[in-house]
Symmetry: C2
Subunit: 390 residues, 2 copies
């Protein structure tokens, strides 16, 4: 058996009765597959691209038209080698990304999000500042030009997570996502709110926490639907308040471009983005890169183990969850892939009207709680067992 | 196959290779079973009580002794009939609860939590006010006397979720949990913060949202360990800020006594309490009642379907999650059961020191966000696609 077999591969291979039990507890109602052009599929096999496409269920309404869009996630290995010259790394990576974006377009995607820092290997493990040379501006420069052209070519909104160089602000580095509209125009950018300090994720050595809040982008899809989207970058998925804030600003879809490895987060992966979809009545799109990246020089991981040149396997497994908790199967654990999901954005309000997590949230209670917690003299609310009192 | 088979029953019956894939993504490291006295087990079979016991992994520390306690969850059918005289319902239910509490004690539990409103059927579906007659005071009266005696008998902290009658405050009704210490003394009570208005959960017709905040109880266990516990009652599990607030007040274990049915929440059940454990670095204990309760008179569910006398199957499946995301298998979907889990409370700080979700949470950012959201003139933070501007 392939060590990179996914849970759903296993589940789907089981006898019907067992399968039913697993779906009932783990996945909710099964999502429908979208039939794909067989010629496209065989072309993609040659290119080693997995393409999966699903359709989420949603009710028709009497007073609103459906607002159906296809959202896509791209996950991939770093196509070049971190030991190659920097210009070559960019060239090879962008060539591969063109194939993946073309695949999303061929499957009818209106909005596609790439993985975190897609233009580079996940270099921050090394703590070497030399990699900053590969950081790029969000609104102009090579990555912006490339994405803008692809967006225009396919009339597709593209979310492009990059290692950003902010030239207007003293050349600072950020972990950001640039958004381009379906005409190829730059819409805006948004940055990573929570920066990890765990394992090899030494990102705090490169950039600081975003100060631009939780912007939600209203984008026009090529079929005329306006979608409201947010981007919770990587480590932000561990923070429920981050998801919540995008939702309070009106997001209907929250993308979570990530780069996370199997030793660290795999048992949490299927939980966090799915919980966020449920708690906030939004679609969430969890995207993780794949493969193992080997760097030219060794580094240590602060885990008392010897120096080494890679930091484990990025396990892919990108998936989409709907506001009502139903989710798609994941992409592969190890291969490049594109996940296309047809969703009706109306499901957000339908779910809110049914479950009422919006009505019952008690914002004032938690505003006051956080107000107290943030004070230096915060005293936790405790009740002490009489057996402990003297 | 039994329709009430659990996911873990299925997973554990699979060949090793498939099993491994499912554990890797779904459950994290397998938890260890605690061997139980075979005589006890066969005695419990006669009484139709399922007992499961597990041990969570935790590292030894150089500077702190382990703080190991056994926490337990009890799930059960309503032992009497909702059509029986009220005094008889109480008598039969408390007799059964005595057997279940004795079982937790026999398995060495230091702290046990019963299911939501354990003294009654889940009567709020009916909207009939007659059931208020069965509500009981938290600190005195029949339920308090019964629980106090059991706590003292077994030197065990008991959390007793009840339909509460607050005689000191104009006879108001609440959904509350009373906490008794290992000497049988009343420690305090805490109430339900989020009240559902979904399906048959007509609780808003009986009581309002709690105003007592998020108290955390410091309780002395019979082995000398002091544990800090919170109680997030039922619907509060859908609200990440509710879990967070107990955690900010210092909870190491958060119990979630619930009553929820299969048509409504089953695909969310394995996600929400587990996500809360991960996000807040706490142990969470998700407890759900079992069985179908048939009421004497019919009621409607606001779902455009005909009137009926029950509101579906409570699916049990109680489970415990550790701060690092590892979880126990669940109890049965349909049978009375006791789940005992041995935990080292030190795992909370170990996980926080490793993952640093506490350091990276950015409380001030979210205090300000909620401050803005709670203002009547709140304007969501939006960036508009230039294609939408005129």
């Amino acid at each position: 058996m392939n060590q990179h077999r996914n849970v759903l591969d296993v589940v789907d291979s089981l006898p019907d009765e067992q399968r039913k039990v697993l779906y009932r507890e783990l996945y909710g109602p099964e999502v429908e597959s979208i039939e794909l052009d067989t010629e496209l599929i065989s072309r993609l096999e040659e290119k080693e691209i997995e393409l999966k496409a699903y359709k989420m269920q949603c009710k028709l309404e009497e007073l609103r038209d459906p607002r159906v869009v296809r959202i896509a996630a791209i996950q991939n290995k770093f196509a070049s080698s971190p030991s190659a010259p920097f210009a070559e790394q960019w060239q090879i990576m962008s060539q591969r990304m063109a194939e993946l974006i073309d695949t999303a377009a061929a499957a009818g995607a209106h909005i596609v999000c790439l993985q975190e820092c897609w233009t580079t290997a996940f270099v921050m493990a090394t703590r070497e500042k030399i990699w900053n040379a590969m950081a790029v501006p969000a609104a102009y420069g090579p990555a912006a030009d490339f994405i803008s052209a692809k967006a225009k070519e396919h009339r597709m909104v593209i979310l492009s997570p990059i290692l950003e160089r902010d030239e207007a602000h003293a050349d600072t580095i950020h972990n950001a996502t640039a958004i381009f509209n379906a005409a190829g125009q730059f819409v805006g950018k948004t940055r990573k709110n929570h920066i990890p300090r765990v394992g090899d994720f030494n990102e705090a050595n490169y950039y600081t926490e975003a100060t631009d809040g939780h912007p939600v982008f209203e984008v026009l899809c090529s079929n005329g639907v306006v979608a409201r989207i947010g981007v919770n970058i990587c480590f932000g998925r561990h923070h429920p308040l981050n998801w919540l804030s995008y939702s309070l600003n009106g997001a209907e879809v929250i993308f979570n471009p990530s780069a996370t490895t199997d030793g660290l987060s795999e048992p949490l992966w299927s939980i966090e983005a799915r919980n966020a979809a449920i708690a906030n009545s939004v679609y969430t799109v969890a995207i993780n890169r794949v493969g193992t990246e080997t760097f030219p020089r060794e580094f240590t991981s602060g885990d008392m183990k010897p120096a080494h040149k890679d930091f484990g396997h990025f396990y892919g497994s990108s998936y989409v969850t709907a506001p009502n908790g139903q989710r798609t199967p994941g992409l592969s654990r190890a291969e490049d892939g594109v996940l296309v999901t047809e969703v009706d954005l109306n499901l957000q309000r339908q779910t809110r009207d049914a479950w009422m997590f919006n009505v019952t949230m008690r914002g004032e209670l938690y505003r006051d709680m956080l107000q107290k917690y943030c004070e230096a003299e915060f005293v936790p609310q405790r009740v002490v067992d009489p057996a402990l009192k003297r």
